[in-house]
Each structure stands twice: as structure tokens, then as C-alpha cells.
């Protein structure tokens, strides 16, 4: 996993609520057997017409907005457990998603792939969206070590699990740790209920 410490970037506003992972990456694009290239189909049906021309009114096609921070409405990432959603956002170039609420499985998938979910209050989210819309050059700063996000001097703190934070700061994956405790897992198996 790519290390994450600090991001300073402009942001892309997507205020829609309940953005589900079928919108982030529709099922028909899940046929690949590798992790790469999903960014091309990120938000496919919101981003492109059926004839593959770009939909001018979708924010990713609006040259006014760009950056590594996606600012999204509440309950982002609900629905399917497809990790491809986190891969697609990362592959496209996002490193942070800011929202006032995240779906569980998406949040875990994002944290495991170097994509930081930053949960803020509804008020802070509304202020951030308003600021980015008023001035698309607005820079957002996210510090993982300090667990802070700020724009225009408006700072907020966010929560992140201490273990996940260490993993992201250092680029560690859970699998490294789990494989290292194999003996303990085997001991557990020997003592566990075996039905």
C-alpha cells in the first residue's frame, strides 16, 4: 500500500448523498482480474453517455475542478462490498474522500488501499462544498498524523483507527501482520469450538 502522510490539493465537489459503489464502478466493469485501470470507468454512467461521449454536466468532466480530494455527500460508498470502488477512486488520482458519513465496507476498503476517508460534520462538509464551489482553487490540507483537515483557515479534526493510521502512514497491509501471527492462529484453532 502507498504511504500516506499529508495532502495539499484542490478538491472536486460531488454533493450527492448515498453515492453507492454501483455508481462509483458499475458491475459490468468488474470483469478484470487485476487491480489496475479501474479509474477509466470511475462514475462511468454519470460521466459518459451511452456513446462514450463525456457528459458535460458531470463534475469530473468540468475542467474547473480537479485535485486529489473528493468532497462527497453523506453515506458515501454504500451498497456492494466491491473493493474495485476504492481502486477506481485511487486509480483516478484521488487520495482523500471527505464526507459526513461513510458506509462501513467502503471505509475499510479505502483504508486498505491508501485512500483516506475523512469524516467531518454536516456543517463542515457544507462549508467545504460551498468554499470549493465559490473558488475552485481552494486548497484543502489533510494531515494524517495530526488527524486534521483544513481549508481557508477552517480546521477540523477527524477520527481514524490508531492501527489503520499506522498502516497508512507506513504503507503496511493487514496481511503482513496476520501472516506473522500464524502460530497464535494455529493455537486458537486447536482450542476453538469445532462445529
Amino acid at each position: 500500500m502507498e504511504k500516506f502522510s499529508r495532502i495539499v490539493s484542490t478538491a472536486v465537489p460531488l454533493p450527492n448523498e448515498d453515492v453507492d459503489t454501483d455508481q462509483i464502478i458499475p458491475a459490468r466493469f468488474l470483469k478484470a482480474t487485476s487491480r489496475e485501470g479501474f479509474g477509466d470507468n470511475l462514475f462511468r454512467d454519470w460521466r459518459y453517455n451511452n456513446d462514450n461521449t463525456a457528459k458535460a454536466d458531470f463534475v469530473l468532466n468540468n475542467p474547473t475542478y480537479s485535485g486529489q480530494v473528493l468532497v462527497a455527500g453523506r453515506n458515501f460508498g454504500c451498497g456492494s462490498s466491491r473493493e474495485h470502488a476504492a481502486w477506481a477512486l485511487f486509480d483516478y488520482g484521488f487520495r482523500v474522500v471527505v464526507s459526513s458519513f461513510f458506509a462501513d465496507i467502503f471505509k475499510g476498503n479505502a483504508l486498505g488501499n491508501g485512500l483516506l476517508p475523512v469524516q467531518v460534520s454536516d456543517e463542515y462538509l457544507a462549508a467545504l462544498i460551498a468554499a470549493v464551489k465559490a473558488d475552485p482553487e481552494t486548497e484543502v490540507t489533510v494531515e494524517l498524523q495530526a488527524q486534521t483537515i483544513s481549508f481557508n483557515g477552517n480546521e477540523a479534526s477527524f477520527e481514524v483507527n490508531a492501527y489503520k493510521k499506522e498502516c497508512m502512514l507506513n504503507g503496511y497491509d493487514d496481511i503482513d501482520y496476520l501472516v506473522s501471527i500464524k502460530d497464535e492462529i494455529e493455537a486458537f484453532e486447536a482450542s476453538a469450538i469445532t462445529i
Binding site: D18, R28, S81, L178
Partner: protein
């Protein structure tokens, strides 16, 4: 100390606790399919790691398989490559695979229970959010991402923070024509699509206890649609009777021993939950969704709300625009051209029986495409043995071969843009059943009646 059902099962699987409130959770059974496993197998190979417990895995292709002519090579090259990759990986890592044509093949969440792989007290995962289905047996079962699929392959464990607990009690007797699907759509409409996020749910109460295993699975299946990682129901005699004699279930004396243990798997008197909700079965009516998330459900004879109680009105309007509905209107009389009966929510034998029982001697309306996709080869076989295939065919329904099919439209089974589909599946997201498709979630009974009438009707006037 009094414990919940969830606590009992979770605590029995904690290998160790780490700082930061993280548990190393042991996973008893791991289900895999073709879509979310290839990158996990690749990760094992890249890291040169062996598969830790291959005998605790069950593999089957379901998401991406055609539902016609399964004996022929898959036409779509990408789908074929993905299904072939599953076959190659299972051969390479020596994992038991129920491939196309195998008598055990089917949707992972249908075959786990019917094979007796799903048992009370077990922990189960799959790279699929509807893994919550298996909670109907009193198992802790939840969906995971592909990185976690690799972790379970490598260690049979996951690092998990313990979720909060919620109990949803439904008391009383269900009105006529109200099925398990209506119960869960009603609950999600009350709690919203995010109302269960961060929680593991236990469903309880006399209305839940009265349900068959198939119906309980429908309820637990859709727990994720309110954001909950999983849902559980305490095992009881209905559960034990369902399990007894199944392929991989404990047999004879082992079964008796297991039942004695399973009987302890219930929430103790006085155990507390982080949140509790109670509903009366009498208040629940046949349901249908009008919007683009499963929380946007109404009684079928009710009206689309004028606005959302909470949340963004922009998102609400965008959703209604997509569906082609107006705030405040009734859906009764709306023409429907597609009916899909299938998916891990409602493709079990009981669902097919409900449909066949209603359509027997009737005929679907002209212009309706009525597709019925059994959840597994075993369901298909049973349906044929009972003659349901003939009843359905005579009524103008097309009985397909098992798979996830038009629930998510990964294969050819898609609903055209702009068309309405009354579907027994679990998600009405934009484009879920095909780009531009408009999905209305409902029970198999509502779906069957809609197919016959060709429009949305107040089903209370149409019951046999």
C-alpha cells in the same frame, strides 16, 4: 454477564485483541466467487504465500455466468476469462469448486445454506456484501473487500473493530400477502439506507420466529441495505430441522451434539443492545420501492412522499427524475414491462413456489418479460421435480439457469434503459440492472402479480 447472540459468537472467535480496539477474528468458512477473488489469489502468488485452510473454502461462479446454455462456452470473452481464472486458481490452490454444470453450483448465498456449510455459531465471510444472508442461521456473516479475501486465504483471520449491536423486534402475526421481503423493505424504509451503519443487527420477535429459513434469509440478506454489516436470527427448531441431513452438516451423534451447542446461541435475558427498535407485524403491508436506494420504499397502495424527512432534497429529486416519478403520486396503475424473480434475496425454492402458486392457470400480461432465475442447481432441480417449471412456462415465464443474473446485470440479463422492472432483488440503484434501468424492489408475490397484471396494483385485491 448477560450476552447477546452476537457477543457469544463473536467472542468465541477472537484469537487475540490488539491496541486500538481491534480484534483478530477467526473465520470458519470462506465463500468465494469469480468476481472478487482473482486479485486475492494474485496477491497470494505475488507474496509467495500458501493458502492457509483450503478445506474451509467453498468456490462457485455466480455473478458473471450466463443463465442460458450453461453447457456451452461462455460467449462474453471477459466473463469467460474471469470464470476460467476461478477454475485455474481453484486447481492451482486445490480448492473445491462447484463450477458450471456441477449439481451444487449456484449463488454463493444460496448454496452455503443448502449444502449445510452455513451453520449456527459460525463466522463466515465472502467478497460480497450479501454475505449477511447466512446470519439467518445465527452465524456471524459479513461481506468483505478483495484485500480481506486475500487475508482470509492467507491466515483464516481478519482484523476487525467490534461493531455496535442493534435489535429489531417484530411482534405479532403478518397480514395476508405480507412476506419476509415486505418486512425488511418496511424496516429499511423506517431506518433509511444508512440507519444500520456501524451495527450488527439481531432480528427477533414472534413475527420473525414464525418465519421459514428461506424467509429469514431474505431478511438477513438485506441487512446491508440499511448499512449494517450483518443481521442474525437466533437458531431454533426451524433452523435445526432445515440443517439436518444436509450434505456437509454434522450427522448422527455429531448433529445431536451440535444442536445442544446451538441451543445456547440466543440472547440472554437482560443483555443490552446499543440500539433497539420494535415494530408490529400488523402495521406492515406489501411494499415497493419508488427511488434509487432500498430505503426509498412505500406501501404498494401508498404514495411517493412529497419530500424526504431528512437528507438532501436535491438527491431526492434526482432520484425521482431518474425513476420518472413525481413527488406525492401513487404508483398504482404504472405499466411495467419487466419482472425479475431471482437473486440471493429471493431465488430459493419457497420463492419459486410462491410465484408458481399464484400464476398457476394464469398468464403473464402481453408485453411483460418475466424472467425467473433459480438460485442454484439444487433449487432448479427441486422446481422441476415439483413441476413448477411447467406451471411457470405455461404462464409465460422464462425459467433460466442459476446465477446472479439481472440483479446486477453483469451478464447478458439486463433491463433496457428507461424501462421499469419489478424485481425481487436487493438493490434499486441507478443502472444496477443495466444502464438507465429503473428498478422497483418487491416481494416474489408482488412480482408475480405485477407480471400477470402488467402494471402495479394493490395486491390485496388480487390474492388467490
Amino acid at each position: 454477564m448477560a450476552k447477546t447472540l452476537f457477543d457469544k459468537v463473536w467472542d468465541a472467535h477472537v484469537v487475540k485483541q490488539l491496541e486500538g480496539n481491534i480484534d483478530v477474528l477467526y473465520i470458519d468458512r470462506h465463500l468465494i466467487h469469480e468476481v472478487t477473488s482473482p486479485q486475492a489469489f494474485a496477491e497470494l502468488e505475488n507474496r509467495n504465500l500458501p493458502l492457509f485452510r483450503k478445506d474451509q473454502m467453498v468456490a462457485t461462479p455466480d455473478h458473471n455466468v450466463p443463465t442460458e446454455n450453461q453447457h456451452l462456452p461462455i460467449k462474453d470473452a471477459l466473463s469467460k476469462h474471469q470464470v476460467d481464472t476461478l477454475i485455474e486458481n481453484c486447481e492451482k490452490f486445490n480448492v473445491e469448486l462447484y463450477g458450471l454444470g456441477h449439481p451444487f453450483q449456484g449463488i454463493v448465498h444460496v448454496i452455503g445454506p443448502e449444502l449445510g456449510v452455513t451453520l449456527p455459531g459460525r463466522t463466515m465471510v465472502c467478497g460480497d456484501s450479501h454475505t449477511s444472508t447466512h446470519g439467518a442461521f445465527g452465524a456471524i456473516a459479513f461481506g468483505i473487500g478483495t484485500s480481506q479475501v486475500a487475508q482470509v486465504m492467507a491466515s483464516q483471520c481478519l482484523l476487525q473493530t467490534r461493531p455496535k449491536t442493534m435489535r429489531i423486534t417484530v411482534n405479532g402475526e403478518l397480514p395476508t400477502g405480507v412476506l419476509a421481503k415486505d418486512i425488511i423493505l418496511y424496516i429499511i424504509a423506517q431506518l433509511t439506507a444508512a440507519g444500520g451503519t456501524g451495527y450488527f443487527v439481531e432480528y427477533a420477535g414472534s413475527a420473525i420466529e414464525s418465519l421459514s429459513m428461506e424467509a429469514r434469509m431474505t431478511i438477513c440478506n438485506m441487512s446491508i441495505e440499511m448499512g449494517a454489516r450483518g443481521g442474525m436470527i437466533a437458531p431454533d427448531q426451524t433452523t435445526f430441522d432445515y440443517i439436518e441431513g444436509r450434505e456437509f452438516a454434522p450427522q448422527g451423534e455429531e448433529f445431536e451434539k451440535a444442536v445442544a451447542y446451538w441451543k445456547t446461541l440466543k440472547t440472554d435475558e437482560g443483555a443490552s443492545f446499543d440500539k433497539e427498535y420494535t415494530y408490529e407485524a400488523a402495521d406492515i403491508a406489501p411494499m415497493i420501492t419508488y427511488g434509487t436506494n432500498p430505503g426509498m420504499g412505500i406501501k404498494i397502495s401508498g404514495n411517493v412522499p412529497d419530500k424526504l424527512g431528512e437528507g438532501s432534497q436535491d438527491s431526492f429529486r434526482k432520484s425521482l427524475d431518474y425513476m420518472g416519478f413525481n413527488p406525492g403520486e401513487s404508483l398504482l396503475g404504472k405499466e411495467v414491462n419487466w419482472v425479475f424473480i431471482g437473486s440471493c434475496t429471493n431465488s430459493r425454492i419457497e420463492d419459486l413456489r410462491i410465484v408458481a402458486d399464484y400464476v398457476k392457470g394464469k398468464r403473464k400480461a402481453d408485453g411483460v418479460n418475466a424472467m425467473i432465475v433459480p438460485g442454484s442447481k439444487q433449487v432448479e432441480k427441486q422446481a422441476i421435480a415439483e413441476g413448477l417449471d411447467k406451471v411457470l412456462t405455461e404462464a409465460g415465464f422464462v425459467l433460466r439457469e442459476p446465477g446472479c443474473s439481472a440483479c446486477l446485470g453483469m451478464n447478458e440479463d439486463k433491463v433496457p434503459a428507461g424501462e421499469y422492472c419489478v424485481s425481487t432483488s436487493n438493490r434499486n440503484f441507478e443502472g444496477r440492472q443495466g444502464p438507465g434501468a429503473r428498478t422497483l424492489l418487491a416481494s416474489p408475490l408482488v412480482a408475480a402479480i405485477t407480471a400477470v397484471e402488467g402494471k402495479i396494483v394493490d395486491i390485496s385485491k388480487h390474492l388467490n
